[in-house]
């Protein structure tokens, strides 16, 4: 990659009550790239994303977004810079409608016309949400809730979208649908940092990937190179 990374994480360390969970993790994402972080359950993938969003205290290391040190900023300020996180737990506003949830995603945007444009884009991405725009988010199916979570993340025109296991708990057919959406966003030029359980598919659609193992980045490379590597086969395929 020739372009300057928009996100650069260097050697960050996170502890939960003294217990190291990230032991010096580095990663970078360049504009327009789709980068995956894969790793077993409990490797620290979500912790890494939460640390970037400043909802998890970082004990050492630096995090730079668009050339700016964001470590000391609040989560809200980071979102305003254009770094958006779609959490594993979705965190929808259950009693509010699909449309209200989406509009809250555009909280940092003041331009009404752009909000309408974004909502149309989200509806074109997920036509099912348009049909259910007045329905309470909590009454949606798991797949539809994930669509709202991703759509809500897109509403603020992020410079970098971080998706934490968007296919978690979905039926295989819906997993493909979600990953197709990621592919489509990538084609639209969105910069994406993806954490996924469906390692093969995730690496397949990504430009590059990282393997995180018990708090350490043990491997980095293009998707195919990772899929072929020994360490990867050991970690995930048990061969």
């Amino acid at each position: 990659m020739t372009s300057e990374p928009i996100l650069a994480v260097e050697n960050i360390k996170v502890r939960y009550s003294g217990l190291p969970v990230l032991r010096g993790v580095s990663l970078w994402v360049a504009a327009g790239e789709t980068v995956s972080v894969v790793g077993a359950n409990g490797a620290g993938k979500s912790t890494l994303l939460r640390a970037i969003m400043a909802t998890q205290p970082v004990f050492d290391g630096t995090i730079r977004f668009l050339g700016r040190e964001i470590h000391a900023l609040s989560t809200e300020a980071i979102v305003r810079l254009g770094l958006v996180y779609v959490p594993e737990e979705k965190m929808l506003f259950g009693p509010l409608s699909v449309e209200e949830n989406l509009r809250l995603g555009a909280y940092v945007i003041n331009d009404a016309a752009r909000i309408e444009q974004n909502i149309e884009f989200v509806f074109s991405l997920f036509p099912r949400l348009k049909e259910r725009r007045t329905q309470a988010a909590s009454t949606l199916s798991g797949g539809e809730q994930q669509m709202v979570a991703i759509g809500r993340g897109l509403m603020s025109n992020p410079r970098l979208l971080m998706l934490d296991e968007p296919s978690l708990g979905l039926a295989p057919i819906l997993v493909d649908e979600v990953l197709d959406t990621v592919r489509r966003l990538k084609a639209e030029g969105m910069t994406i940092l993806l954490v996924e359980q469906n390692v093969r598919e995730a690496l397949d659609l990504s430009d590059r990937g990282y393997v995180l193992q018990t708090g350490r980045m043990v491997k980095e490379g293009t998707g195919q190179a990772l899929l072929d590597s020994d360490i990867f086969r050991q970690a995930f395929l048990g061969i």
Binding site: E76, V79, L92, G94
Partner: protein
């Protein structure tokens, strides 16, 4: 029949004023799941503000409501930034004891500054005036004004919560603070705003009440209890619930009137013999007890 109608009217009117007392409590709970034991002390401060501004300017407290509202807004904001925001990181017990401590602090501060005597407003535009609506029902103008302004305040809060950008952000913070932060919503400011609105509505209620209720540094606890009853009945965090529950509580407070109506109408001897008026608030607390046992989530459920 006159007693029945009068009691009904009195109950509904006082209920509307009480709704405004409870509004702030339910908003603060709704947004950040914290029960403010000092709520009644906020009201007490509103009453003193209404009293003193009225005495100082010679105007009716109705005209100095904006002052009371401003005092309440600042009081809520200062309490949040100076105190509550540190408490919410602690366990539930710390929050309960913390706002309990705030209650004691404000009460004793008032005692120090104002002394323990009862103070009441003896003049004013509306004090002593009343409206005869016919059928033997006479409505004191002060209570009518309190009821009308309470409805207006509810409407304003409802509009704010449902029709404005900041209201949506408050709702989002109430529903899922972490999720709200990920949307770029400054939840800390939203919490402070909830305390500000909660403080402003309850001090407005205080300034309205001082027209027909004397004030001393200990007046708060009674209203805290009544507000708890209302909020428990309406569902913690529910604005709409608080309004209707307050009407119910207002009517419960007029229970002695209904009792008298029955004893006169049907001439029931043993009903005469019980001096029901002495137990006015007992019924409110009894209702609170029954609600907590039978419907701990209130009539409308928690939040919404």
């Amino acid at each position: 029949m006159e007693i029945l109608l009068s009691s009904l009217a009195a109950g509904l009117l006082i209920g509307m004023a009480l709704a405004l007392v409870a509004l702030g409590l339910t908003i603060i709970f709704g947004v950040m799941d914290i029960v403010n034991f000092a709520h009644g002390e906020f009201l007490m401060i509103g009453m003193y503000t209404g009293l003193f501004t009225a005495q100082a300017t010679g105007l009716d407290p109705l005209f100095t409501l904006p002052v009371a509202a401003l005092v309440g807004f600042l009081l809520g904001g200062v309490c949040y930034y100076g105190f509550i925001r540190f408490l919410i990181r602690g366990p539930m017990v710390a929050q309960l004891l913390g706002t309990f401590g705030l209650m004691l602090f404000l009460r004793n501060l008032a005692l120090l500054i104002f002394g323990s005597e009862d103070r009441a407003l003896h003049h004013g535009l509306l004090v002593g005036r009343s409206i005869d609506v016919g059928m033997g029902v006479i409505i004191p103008a002060t209570k009518l004004a309190a009821a009308v302004l309470a409805i207006f305040s509810f409407w304003a809060v409802w509009m704010l919560m449902n029709r404005t950008h900041v209201g949506k952000a408050l709702t989002a913070t109430a529903l899922n603070p972490q999720g709200a932060r990920y949307m770029g919503i400054p939840t800390e400011k939203m919490n402070a705003l909830a305390w500000g609105i909660g403080g402003a509505t309850v001090t407005i209620a205080g300034a309205l009440l001082v027209n027909f209720w004397s004030v001393n540094p200990f007046v708060g606890l009674l209203f805290t209890m009544i507000a708890f009853t209302i909020v428990a009945l309406g569902g913690f965090g529910s604005v709409r619930g608080a309004f209707f529950a307050a009407l119910v509580v207002g009517l419960i407070m007029e229970f002695p009137g209904f009792w008298d109506f029955f004893s006169y109408t049907f001439d029931i001897q043993w009903m005469y013999d019980i001096p029901m008026t002495s137990f006015k608030y007992t019924w409110v607390y009894l209702a609170y007890f029954i609600i907590m046992v039978a419907r701990p989530r209130g009539l409308f459920g928690w939040k919404h």
